[in-house]
């Protein structure tokens, strides 16, 4: 029993190597990672362990999509790894290692678990690219009240407050002034006698004595 499993494993790995040396099969998907672009200083180094994680997450994706079918790391065959960190992979079917799972099925599996795959590598749809699988478009966040209405409301509130203040303030000032001059005029008449001059000289002061007189003499 153990021997059989061991034999199958060797066969599958040999089969995997075989697959890589042939031309790219139509069921394959190209993958491209842009780790440094996404993470900058915090970028991790891509090595075999990371590749193992990739195979594991893909196996997980296949398992989630086709419940009951227990895909394993060995079913995910990766080839042509480049320093760019790009490669292509195929998924071998469970029953027969020489057969490959169709593109459509792989695509469905990847789409379903895309978020999980991205998160495992701390990447996004743009930095972990599956060439041929377009990312499902996230709907742009549309809040219930458009933000511009809020700003508009604030501005209009300020403007109307300003208009009110500017219109009402002089009215209040006028009322205050009306109450004041009643006291000023009385004191002026008693203390000062002023003369007014005709002609262009205006250096004198105005005589307030007659300010309260009626315009027309009374009969």
């Amino acid at each position: 029993m153990l021997g059989k499993i061991f034999f199958l494993l060797c066969l599958s790995s040999a089969w995997a190597e075989d697959l890589c040396s042939k031309a790219v099969p139509p069921e394959a998907y190209y993958v491209r990672l842009s780790i440094k672009t996404a993470l900058g200083d915090k970028a991790y180094v891509w090595n075999d362990n990371e590749m193992f994680l990739f195979q594991a997450t893909l196996a997980f994706a296949m398992r989630s999509q086709f419940s009951g079918q227990e895909y394993n790391v060995s079913n995910i065959v990766v080839c042509d790894e480049t320093p760019r960190v790009s490669f292509w992979f195929v998924v071998t079917s469970l029953e027969d290692p020489s057969r490959l799972v169709s593109r459509g099925d792989v695509e469905q599996a990847v789409r379903k678990s895309r978020n999980r795959i991205n998160s495992a590598f701390l990447l996004t749809d743009q930095t972990l690219e599956f060439i041929g699988i377009t990312p499902t478009l996230a709907a742009p966040v549309a809040p219930n009240t458009p933000p511009w209405l809020i700003v508009f409301g604030v501005v209009m509130g300020a403007v109307f407050a300003g208009i009110l203040v500017l219109l009402v303030l002089p009215l209040i000032q006028k009322k205050r002034k009306k109450n004041q001059p009643m006291e000023d005029e009385d004191s002026d008449e008693e203390t000062q006698v002023k003369t007014a001059e005709n002609g262009p000289e205006r250096s004198g002061v105005y005589n307030m004595s007659f300010s309260d007189d009626d315009k027309f003499t009374q009969m």
């Binding site: 491209r32 842009s34 780790i35 440094k36 672009t37 480049t82 320093p83 760019r84 960190v85 790009s86 478009l137 709907a139 742009p140 933000p147 511009w148 209405l149 809020i150 700003v151 508009f152 501005v155 209009m156 403007v159 109307f160 300003g162 208009i163 500017l166 219109l167 007014a196 005709n198 002609g199 262009p200 205006r202 105005y206 005589n207 307030m208 007659f210 300010s211």
Partner: protein, 631 residues
């Protein structure tokens, strides 16, 4: 030239020098005054420096031979702009009235000039404030991250992006569809767009609150609106200079192409730009200047403001272009690096900005076919900058695209639109002044009504009439107004102003006035430019403008998905537009001769005298009975 046309009764209509001295010493309380000189200068600078400095001048510079455009611009600035500016300042300060009052004082038959200024200020104010509404709309939308013009919305069944957006670009889509909701032709109204109506109302109410009491309120507002644009431009300049490649843009803008100087349209455009850039012939500058003290040095002011205006144009051109070109370069660069990396499976960061050229050369050498197939983009500045990079296209399409490529985009968006808003608002102050003060002078409405009411009426009527710009076809109407209301009438008014002051008011009298006001007679430069050079230049520009407008078939640019998308298609106007064009350009221009004839006939046939300004000719009449005197 000692030509002077007969002008009887001038002395009775205007205050004499002695009167002016007296008015200076006693507090003439009912005429507003500037709090200080800085306020006056800031208001005038704000009026002159407007959106045209930011989005028209750089385009003209770049399309007429870069640095070489400076030569006709500066020459015409000195020969046309400064003399007319000095003239408007001096006549306003001397006669101490708004535009209608000034021309009526010189000769009642010339009231038409003031009325024409009033009409032009009103029409221009109407569409200019709509641009302000657009700016405010973008400003309101800048307070979110990510910015709404950085993404395309999804289509109805969520399978892809909206087609219009995918075919053009996110910024185009946001401008033409989500802001304007533009229709495909000027006769298709498209209905009122409610969000545009709200933005328009906010623009007019904000303008009202600032101009509610004339220069009392605007004088305070200009401390902010006139200085903030310079602060923001400097911030953008610093930002631009810290990024690599900005010098490319500045170099490109200013490399001179001397052949362009031979082209007459270069000189024409330079002359027109100087004229409109100084906001001459609107009547606002005359009005502002009339609030000055009588001995204010208007000559110095004119030169100072002209220099500031010219420098601002050059400065803003530098800043804007360095930012825009930078983005073009950076974008093309990053795209190309990505393409090369992906095609040749280089590790990331193998190709950087530094070794990009070497790597490209090496790859071109080894695998030329693949390189060709990649379609590497180069930043073709000519093509990039010639795609409608003037006017609203510059601000709302190109610069917004540049903003979304910068980090912390909402901040830059807010800064940019606040700057545009301040530039436009300070210009609107001058426009409103040019409408309200002549309205008060014309005495169409009861004099007892306070200024607030005149202002409110102006803003309300302009807002209601401005609703045509809030329709689906509003953009096309605005372009129509911009081409016709703000071009030929201003040239006509400017020419008539200069002619009236020099030949009807009298150059000798004017010289003596200036000597009285600032202490020395205007020198030979002013004499030559006022009497001969500036009028001739204006006449030439006017004739050329008129001829080019009449001869070419008038078209307008349309955003239509069916045709030549995503560039704009030039389509001829429908026939009935000619009526509108006549109303916009013809009526203000014709107001001058028509009112002239009307007043002339009134004077000759009815022999009625205008009692409102002249005094009864007796001894006691020489005693000025002012309202303030109590005795």
């Amino acid at each position: 030239m000692k030509v002077k046309l007969p002008n009887p009764g001038l002395d009775d209509r205007i205050p004499s020098h002695a009167d002016l001295e007296r008015m200076e010493t006693e507090e003439a309380g009912d005429r507003p005054k500037w709090d200080n000189k800085a306020q006056y200068l800031l208001t005038c600078v704000g009026f002159c420096v407007g959106l045209g400095n930011v989005w028209r001048f750089p385009y003209l510079c770049q399309s007429h031979g870069g640095g070489a455009f400076m030569i006709p611009f500066l020459i015409l600035l000195v020969l046309e702009g400064i003399p007319l500016l000095h003239l408007e300042f001096a006549i306003g300060q001397r006669l101490r009235k708004g535009s209608v009052g000034v021309w009526r004082s010189i000769n009642p038959c010339l009231t038409g000039i003031g009325i024409a200024s009033l009409m032009v200020s009103f029409l221009v104010g109407m569409y200019y404030n709509t641009i302000m509404a657009w700016i405010m709309w973008y400003l309101y939308n800048s307070f979110q991250s990510p910015l709404p013009w950085s993404q395309c919305p999804l289509n109805a069944n969520r399978t892809g992006l909206v087609e219009e957006c995918a075919r053009s670009s996110t910024v185009d889509y946001f401008w033409y569809r989500e802001t304007l909701n533009t229709s495909t032709a000027i006769d298709e109204s498209g209905g009122l767009q409610w969000w545009m109506v709200l933005a328009l109302i906010s623009a007019w109410t904000l303008l009202y609150v600032c101009t509610i009491r004339g220069i009392e309120t605007t004088g305070k507002a200009v401390y902010v609106t006139s200085t903030l644009p310079y602060v923001v431009l400097t911030i953008f300049l610093i930002r631009g200079l810290t990024l690599k490649g900005s010098m490319e843009g500045i170099k490109f803008l200013f490399t001179p192409d001397v052949d362009e100087l031979m082209n007459p349209t270069t000189w024409l455009d330079a002359g027109a730009q100087v004229f409109y850039s100084f906001s001459l012939a609107f009547g606002g500058l005359i009005s502002f200047s009339s609030y000055n003290s009588i001995h204010n040095n208007c000559e110095q002011d004119a030169v100072l403001i002209s220099i500031i205006n010219g420098c601002t144009s050059v400065y803003s051109a530098t800043v804007i272009y360095s930012i825009i070109v930078l983005i073009c370069i950076k974008y093309a660069f990053e795209n190309n690096i990505l393409k090369l990396m992906n095609a040749f499976d280089y590790a990331e960061n193998n190709i950087t900005d530094i070794n990009y050229n070497d790597v490209l050369a090496h790859l071109n050498h080894t695998n030329p076919n693949i390189i060709e197939g990649l379609n590497l983009e180069t930043c073709d500045m000519n093509k990039f900058l010639s795609q409608g990079v003037e006017g609203t296209g510059l601000a709302f399409i190109v610069f917004t695209e540049a903003i979304i490529k910068m980090p912390v985009s909402p901040l830059w968006a807010v800064l940019f639109f606040v700057m545009l808003f301040c530039l436009g608002l300070s210009t609107m102050f001058g426009n409103i002044e040019g409408v309200v003060v002549p309205l008060q002078d014309l005495r169409l409405l009861p004099r007892s009504w306070p200024k607030e009411v005149f202002c409110a009426l102006t803003c309300l009527i302009s807002c209601l009439m401005g609703l045509i710009f809030a329709q689906g076809s509003g953009n096309y109407w605005l372009a129509l107004f911009d081409s016709f209301a703000g071009s030929i009438p201003l040239l006509v008014i400017g020419f008539c102003e200069m002619f009236s002051v020099i030949y009807i008011y009298g150059a000798d009298r004017f010289n003596k006035d200036i000597e009285f006001m600032i202490g020395h007679k205007p020198n030979i430069f002013w004499q030559v430019t006022w009497r001969v050079l500036s009028p001739i230049i204006m006449l030439v520009i006017l004739v050329f403008y008129f001829v080019t407008q009449i001869t070419k078939s008038i078209t307008y640019l349309v955003w239509d998905q069916e045709v030549v998308f995503p560039t704009l298609e030039a389509r001829p106007y429908p026939d009935w537009i000619n009526v509108i064009i006549f109303l916009l350009a013809g009526v203000p221009s014709l107001a001058i001769p028509l009112v002239f004839l009307y007043k002339f006939i009134q004077m000759k046939c009815c022999k009625k005298k205008d009692y409102s300004d002249s005094t009864v000719d007796t001894i006691s009449a020489k005693i000025q009975m002012g309202e303030k005197m109590k005795f």
